[in-house]
Amino acid sequence: MTSTVSRPRKFETTGKATIYLALTLLAVGTLFPFIWALGTSFKTEKQAIAMPPQWIPDPIRLQNYIDAWNMFPFGRFYYNTLLFAVLGMLGSIALSSLAGYALAKYQFRGQYAILIFIIATMMIPYWVNLVPVYTILAKLGWLDTYHGLIIPRLARPFGIFLMRQYIRSIPSDYIDAARIDGASEFGIFWRIILPQCTPVLATLAIFFFVEDWNSFMWPLVVTNSLEMRTVTVGLALLSGSPHRTEYALQMAAATIGALPAIAVFLAFQRYLTQGITLSGLKGQ
């Protein structure tokens, strides 16, 4: 190697090392608030407010989790949120795939108009509707109930649109063959279409679950008794309660709220990023 060749190469390696270093620092910075919250959650209140900050909790103390869990009915909040997120997800998937199938594989008048209509509803932000929807739920007697929490959110235009796009790519030959064999229309959907949709169904499942698990304003407005509150609302209640200056306790509660979403993401991240990629490409 002559020096003229090795010089730029040396530049390149230091450049690459710098980039790795920068990315690593950024990754640490991204995780840091979580790590700091987790660390605080194991401390005594006295250690939590120590100056200079104490980096490693000693001893590791789980009492804050027990206290947070008992201070507000977090068990009940978890149950509510799970019910809300799981039933909401299953129902949304059912409605999205049925509607998506109808729009993808049948020819009928007004088909395109209905599709445009559904896409247009994507533009409506939920807070414009907050007061009218609240009124409808009040009239129906659905406030502070599970069905009030779940049913209005079941038709998600993004899900319908994504299912429609995906099902269109499935060859129609199978459908025609099944129809000749005497399969019912629902039978075709259930036995032929759905099994071929597993990747997109998984994506939507994670999407909807995380969306509902993290939603705040909706459960805040629709529920009002403590027994019906969700985890996010419970966290906000705790952070505004007289315990707000018990920082270790607050961080234990925040961890309780953050962990399930992170766990679901890490377990199914392939499907989630795939879904985001799909939604991102929608813009093209």
Binding site: A22, V131, P132, A155, T232
Partner: protein, 303 residues
């Protein structure tokens, strides 16, 4: 079914099994969309012309709510805060995410999936939990941030209550939470650019910067448009963070954003008509911004 009806061969729409299937597949979703989304938004427009406290019947007041909105200093302040937050967070976050995506897109880079996963984690956590954590970091008396700046001799700051710092603090939190999401979208967009373009440019002797400037950025424009528009829409809706950072005493004036003001008016003061008017105006603003963006990018695209 009796014998008489068998003779006329005329078929009604509900006897067509396909149409029946289409209807039963579409109706559940369409009914919910109409009842809980379309009709409410029409009702919202109607409600914005009324005065209503939910207890007594709504009174038609014409344009009074809109007139009131124009003279409402608190609404204006909330709107300016929202604009400030949007103008601060959207360009910074987009630029930052794009840079990271370009770096992650480099062929020689190893551990791309790992970085992408780590950067993405904050977005899957609820803004409520995120805000609790940042509220602790921003804590004026015991927060880590003030401890850190104290080491370099900067006096303690009131990150979320100082009028000069409240929105910037919210912006930092937002960029931290959302950049990973944008990176994933940008990476998907970058993947869609055919490699032949770069090969041709390399033959022509174009350097890295020229390649980015003349190939990557123009071809990535639709993705960028998507990212920007989604970020604008998201930042106009910011609410959870403000509520949590504000705590029991409520957010300081410098942190009250429009959706928070809407919530306060409708569900705090039971001014349902006025609260809805705020929503309608904010929605129209977003719509105008989104359409302007689309047109801008569409024109750039034609060139």
């Amino acid at each position: 079914m009796n014998g008489k009806q068998r003779t006329p061969p005329k078929k009604f729409w509900f006897q067509d099994y396909k149409l029946r299937a289409i209807l039963s597949f579409l109706l559940p979703a369409l009914t919910i969309l109409v009842v809980f989304s379309v009709l409410p938004s029409l009702a919202a427009i109607g409600l914005s012309f009324t005065k209503w406290d939910m207890l007594s019947p709504a009174q038609f007041v014409g344009l009074a709510n809109y007139k009131r909105l124009l003279g409402d200093a608190r609404f204006k302040a909330s709107f300016m805060n929202t604009l400030y937050y949007t103008a601060g967070s959207v360009p910074l976050c987009t630029l930052f995410s794009l840079t990271i995506a370009l770096v992650l897109n480099e062929k020689w880079l190893k551990g791309k999936a790992l970085f992408r996963t780590l950067f993405f984690i904050p977005i899957v956590v609820s803004p409520v939990a995120i805000s609790m954590i940042w509220k602790w970091i921003y804590n004026p008396a015991y927060g880590l941030l003030n401890a850190a700046i104290a080491m370099v001799g900067i006096p303690r700051q009131f990150w979320t209550s100082d009028p000069r710092l409240a929105i910037p603090s919210l912006i930092v939190m937002t960029i931290w939470q959302t950049f990973g999401y944008n990176v994933v979208i940008f990476l998907a967009g970058l993947l869609a650019i055919p490699t032949e373009f770069y090969e041709a440019a390399m033959v022509d002797g174009a350097n890295k910067w020229q390649q980015i400037r003349h190939i990557t950025l123009p071809l990535l424009a639709p993705t960028t448009a998507f990212v920007v528009i989604m970020a604008i829409i998201r930042s106009f809706q910011v609410f959870d963070q403000v509520l949590v950072l504000g705590g029991v005493s409520g957010p300081p004036k410098s942190l009250v954003v429009t959706v928070y003001y809407l919530y306060q008016m409708a569900f705090g003061s039971f001014k349902m008509g006025y609260g809805t008017t705020i929503g309608v105006v904010l929605f129209l603003t977003i719509l105008v911004v989104a359409i302007a963006q689309f047109r801008y990018y569409a024109r750039r695209f034609e060139e």
